[in-house]
């Protein structure tokens, strides 16, 4: 009996997670008056006006483009430099490798808030302020360590015999790496991309600090609107609902890899 109840725990948990998401969607199709005027389980005055505002006003939709831009650059960059590093950690033992690996991970533990001020000054100094590159670079701080760690875990599961056979067969290192090794750990790359995407997409503080107008992320636009015009809850809900879409697309592609479980590297 007890077992029968606990079997439904994941289901209860999903319901707990879905209620706020339903409410977000629910509000996004309501007028702000309806949200503030009463408790309604579904929109009585169904409206697309909130979405129409966002999708036609460049000061809104530019925010999505900006965010996607830096998240994309960051993900590509982080995984690209993490791949060779993870390979080195997984295949070779060298003096101080454990310390280097731990140092790498400490970067993931550095709170972004700590970096808000110095990165502002540094990126202004080199002329990257208010570009997607600034945010993308700043976010590599926590995404490279994570990517190295995830990829190292996947690479650990690939027998070294694969490398050795390839080298015996006369493959050069780059040819082996791109033609054989990368396809072998495609699942790991997918999972690493997912986590890089996730942490870069939800981060606000650094993204807000490093941009002003041209590269402003959607989250910063939301805070500005909220404080400038009182709470236009319908509009904010629509904007929030739209931020779920890119993530949902990404997770759709990697769902099986994540469900299968991802190996994680040594620590």
């Amino acid at each position: 009996m007890k077992n029968r109840i606990t079997r439904f725990v994941p289901l209860f948990y999903i319901i707990f997670l879905m209620i706020p998401i339903y409410w977000l969607l629910n509000m996004s199709f309501k007028t702000t008056n309806e949200i503030l005027g009463g408790f309604t389980l579904y929109p009585h005055n169904f409206t697309f006006a909130n979405y129409a505002t966002i999708l036609t006003d460049p000061s809104w939709y530019r925010g999505y483009i900006n965010s996607i831009e830096y998240v994309f650059i960051n993900t590509v960059f982080s995984v690209a430099v993490a791949l060779p590093a993870a390979y080195a950690f997984s295949r070779y033992r060298f003096l101080g490798d454990k310390h280097l690996f731990f140092w790498l991970l400490t970067n993931r533990m550095a709170p972004p808030a700590v970096f808000a001020l110095p990165v502002f000054q540094l990126y202004s100094e080199v002329g990257l302020f208010d570009t997607p590159w600034a945010v993308a670079l700043a976010h590599t701080l926590f995404n490279i360590p994570l990517a190295v760690w995830i990829l190292e875990g996947f690479m650990g599961g690939v027998p070294t015999a694969l490398d050795e056979t390839a080298f015996v067969d006369g493959y050069s290192f780059p040819r082996f790496f791109f033609r054989i090794f990368i396809p072998t750990i495609a699942a790991g790359i997918g999972v690493a991309c997912f986590f890089c995407f996730m942490f870069s997409w939800v981060e606000l503080l650094l993204a807000k600090t490093l941009t002003s107008v041209a590269a402003k992320p959607i989250a910063a636009i939301m805070t500005k609107t909220a404080s400038a015009s009182g709470y236009q809850l319908g509009l904010l809900a629509a904007a929030g609902s739209l931020t779920l879409i890119p993530g949902a697309v990404v997770v759709y592609f990697v769902r099986n890899y994540i469900a299968k479980g991802f190996a994680l590297g040594r620590v």
């Binding site: 060779p84 080195a88 001020l117 939800v202 809850l233």
Partner: protein, 284 residues
Amino acid sequence: MISRAQTFGLLAPAVLLLIATGVIPLALVFFYSTHENFGSEFFFVGVQWYQEALLSPDFQFNVLRSLLFSGLALGVEMPLGLFIALRLPREGRLTSVLVVLMVLPLLTPNIVVAYLFKALSLPLYGPLTWMASWLGWDFNLNHVFSAWFLLIVMDCWHWTSLIVLFAHAGLKAIPEEYYRAAAVDAATPWGVFRFVQWPRLKLMLGIAAILRFMDSFMIYAEPLVTTHGGPKNATTFVARAFVQTKKTQFELGYGSAVSVFCFMIVLVFAFALFKLTTRQEHRA
């Protein structure tokens, strides 16, 4: 095989990039934290800013509140996440569907979560307030308990799935044979958990706990939007305090000293947890 020089060549891009984005900014923060500035001129002041921060009761309470918040958030999220992961089917279509649904909160930007929960807890017509009053509870963000309750529920909603994912990954790494061997030995469910699952899970949970500790200790946007740090200062945490002070040029040193101090707390916690999880592994 590749040579030692090539090994370092493989590591170089990642290491150099992390030096540029991590080590240099951190060095700069450390420099500010030990200097006073007038315009662009800097004077060395030693530990003055640290003293000022650590001796101020405001700051002390902020740190204590942040620690309490992290403690409560992790205290709910870790056991809950672990429990759900243990109940999650090992594989199959259902698992994929559940994973996609569970991951949605993780992909919601902090600020969206903050506005969403603000809307959920609107006076009168927010569903949370509505449900609370149905249960006979006067849910009101002007009460300390309600404000904390909201922040904890919000954090659990947002991040428990991360623990589930990590624990699930740890469980999947256990070969099927281990379970069969345990069944042959007629192990109790507790025995299976303690001697088959826990040794593999511990490290994953440790890492998840470090990630969650760091993010919850530095929580910023959520209390700012939902409770404005109130009632009074009941939900003001460290990140808010030093982001505020850093905005004004005059408090550059003070803000930096607070930053360095917070980084230290996170590092000490991470290192302790790391030692704890890896040390037991050698013994087991």
